[in-house]
């Protein structure tokens, strides 16, 4: 087994997943010594009726002091400071984060301010700035994607300075992550597809990037296996709670994996496409994932070959000759994208030029690719990618992903 010279692994979150898992929250909060949580969510989640389901599950034992549903898709400093002020005013003593990645990150950032009695969130940005345990926090994800409910990271936008602030600390890992299939049942098929592919990208990158470790890889393989078994069936039968639960659990596993091993160029480029063109994160990940695998092929062939088993299942793995397994793994991801494209009636894009907004207008234009490539060079995940990337490399991959062409591996400069 490949073993790094040194590695750390921390998955210090009480993970509860299953039918009626929400009903476990009162006991969880009691064990954390709190009964006056504040619920942080967003307007979409509230409109979908998920807050009502949560409040019903909390029952009479727990009184949510306030319910804040003003978290924007890309949470920013102003939102965090406002929510932190209200938390103090209402005398809350815990946080329940109900939502996707933005809500989770916002809740973590609010928790920093209220736990550290701070007034300026920027003072806590970076790695390891936190030295103390924060207020109790329970995370209830409503998408099966980011894994934020189990990660040690939060990202908050600082629009005034045109930057995103990164917060990293083991104290940011929520005390508990509660995964209940009721929370993802209403996700439309194309969002289900994109978010699951986001989780898949976390899992695959976690198992091939430079900071990988055996425990992260094992978790990643379990996550990939769950996504392979359940994604397409859930697209066909969206009301299947077992499938929904499996996908949400896979996202948490993938989150735990990448939280302990980082990610690579798929996120380097995907985050930049999202930043420049405002493309949903999961869509970027789904399109760029096979390109990232292909780009790193020569450095990670045995690792990619190992991925074929969870990606394709026992029988395909067994009948694929060892030398072909790595390429087959990449083909499986491409095939998964194509199947999702058909299953969602084309809503799941397979190349960047086909990504559109609700009105059908393209979101990514060829002339933006150089800007995306430049932006990518400032992304921290680039350092964990197995093969080096410079501007020309980024542009080459982006052009291929824009057209939907296979990556010409002969053009990759092997470092």
């Amino acid at each position: 087994m490949e073993m790094p010279e040194y590695y750390e692994f921390c998955g210090r979150v009480n993970l509860i997943a299953g039918r009626d898992a929400l009903e476990q929250i009162p006991d969880l909060l009691a064990s954390l010594g709190t009964e006056h949580p504040r619920v942080i969510t967003d307007a979409g989640v509230a409109r979908a009726g998920l807050v009502d389901i949560l409040l019903q599950a909390l029952g009479r034992r727990i009184t949510a002091r306030t319910i804040e549903d003003a978290v924007p898709p890309d949470s920013d400093l102003k939102t965090v400071h406002t929510l932190a002020r209200r938390y103090r005013e209402k005398g809350c003593n815990a946080i329940i984060a109900l939502g996707g990645g933005s809500v989770m990150d916002t809740a973590k950032a609010v928790n920093i301010l209220v736990s550290e009695s701070g007034q300026d969130l920027t003072a806590f940005s970076g790695a390891g700035a936190l030295k103390h345990r924060l207020k109790p926090q329970v995370a209830v994800p409503t998408t099966a994607a980011t894994g934020s409910e189990v990660t040690l990271v939060a990202v908050i936008a600082d629009p005034e300075h045109g930057r995103k602030l990164l917060f990293t600390s083991h104290f940011l890992i929520p005390d508990a992550a509660v995964i209940d299939p009721r929370m993802t049942l209403s996700l439309p098929p194309h969002i289900t597809a994109a978010t699951a592919m986001d989780a898949l990208s976390h899992a695959i990158e976690a198992s091939i990037c430079l900071a990988r470790n055996p425990l992260s890889t094992a978790l990643a393989h379990e996550a990939i296996d769950l996504i392979r078994c359940h994604l397409l069936p859930v697209i066909t039968h969206p009301a299947d709670p077992a499938g929904r639960l499996a996908l949400a659990t896979a996202a948490a596993l993938a989150g735990m994996a990448f939280s302990n091993s980082m990610v690579g160029m798929v996120h380097t480029l995907g985050d930049s496409v999202g930043w420049v063109c405002h493309v949903p994160h999961g869509t970027c990940m789904a399109i760029l994932l096979p390109y990232g695998m292909a780009y790193n092929f020569h450095k990670t062939q045995p690792l990619l070959a190992d991925l074929l088993l969870p990606l394709a299942g026992e029988e395909i793995f067994a009948r694929t000759p060892p030398r072909d397994r790595a390429q087959k793994a990449i083909d499986q991801v491409r095939q998964m994208n194509r199947r999702l494209h058909h299953a969602t009636a084309g809503a799941h894009a397979v190349c960047l030029r086909d990504v559109t907004d609700r009105d059908g207008k393209p979101l990514v234009h060829r002339h933006q690719l150089p800007t995306i490539a430049k932006t990518a060079l400032g992304d921290g995940s680039i350092f964990y990618n197995p093969e080096d990337l410079d501007y020309d490399d980024c542009l080459m991959v982006l052009e291929a992903a824009f057209q939907g062409d296979p990556l010409d591996r002969s053009r990759i400069r092997k470092g």
Binding site: F9, R12, A17, R19, H221
Partner: protein, 348 residues
Amino acid sequence: MTALLRFFSRTKLCFGSHALAHLPFELSAMNGWKPFVLTDPPGKDARLHLDMARAFRNSDIPLGIAALSDDRPGACQEMEDLYHLFVDKGYDCIMALGTGPLVQTAKLLNLTVCLGPEILRSSAGPEQLDTPLLPMVFVPTRPSEGRETATKVTLEGRTFASEFLLPDLTVIAPDIMLGTPENQILDAGLTCLAVCGNAVAFSGNPLVRAHAATGIRLVRDALPYLVRHPDPDEIFCRKSRKNRCRPLAFLAHAAALSGIIRANTGDLTPRPSDNLSGRKAALALVKDLKARKTLSPGLSHLLLLLTDPDRYAASPGSRRADAAILAVETFIHDVSGTLETEAPNGDA
């Protein structure tokens, strides 16, 4: 997947060369500024406390070090003495440098400091505790059976259970692995194999399975090497020592994972390895795999974990479960040679 999946591990793992050097940073992140280090006689004899002191040399963190007198878990009087020492000197966290009974003592000390010395004199029954304890660090110095990272501790017949009894941090540093008697190595490796094998084969919890898969791979890579290269005399040769230290650390790592699996395998019934160890546990695993072959969703995965992808792929799907059981038997036989001579009935 299981109907309601639960998984929790408070324990952060640090594995690798010079891992001790990370301790001052890790402790300060846990708000631990004055650690009380407990070590056992083998650790003291090997002067491992000096390695520990060296790791803190350039920090502002003073260490208190106590070498326990024997290998038995702390009796009440010993706990009282440690308690007074801890409180009088104002320590704020506990580090256990060693394995087995030493860690039980460290956990009991933590309970005594946090709940008061009266718990030593109380005669109440088993207790489920939900009070946070002081930060605790576990630094194994040899492979063990992994009960250090489990959630229970016993004091003179009383059992205390709490998630807070899991160490906050487990630091596995190959550089401080001690020479270990061969029978202990074998016992540790086979116990881990049994715990992890059982989890891979029967658990519906993907987090448990991932931990177990890693544990099996660590045992697979370390145990045969250690069994085939016993030569205790060569332990004093720097190169030989280094060659053995890393596989010893692999086993210690697998043991830590076994403890975490034990703490999270509520969905497994029965759990044959709970009360068995070493060869008995491994043989009980084989027996269990054979008896419940058709009920095991993950059995074929054992073949992959214990052999390699090619052998796994070469085995027809319908025979993969049998091949997996054979792989487990072969592994046990290769490392211990006992399969033919000892009935796999779990009560040998």
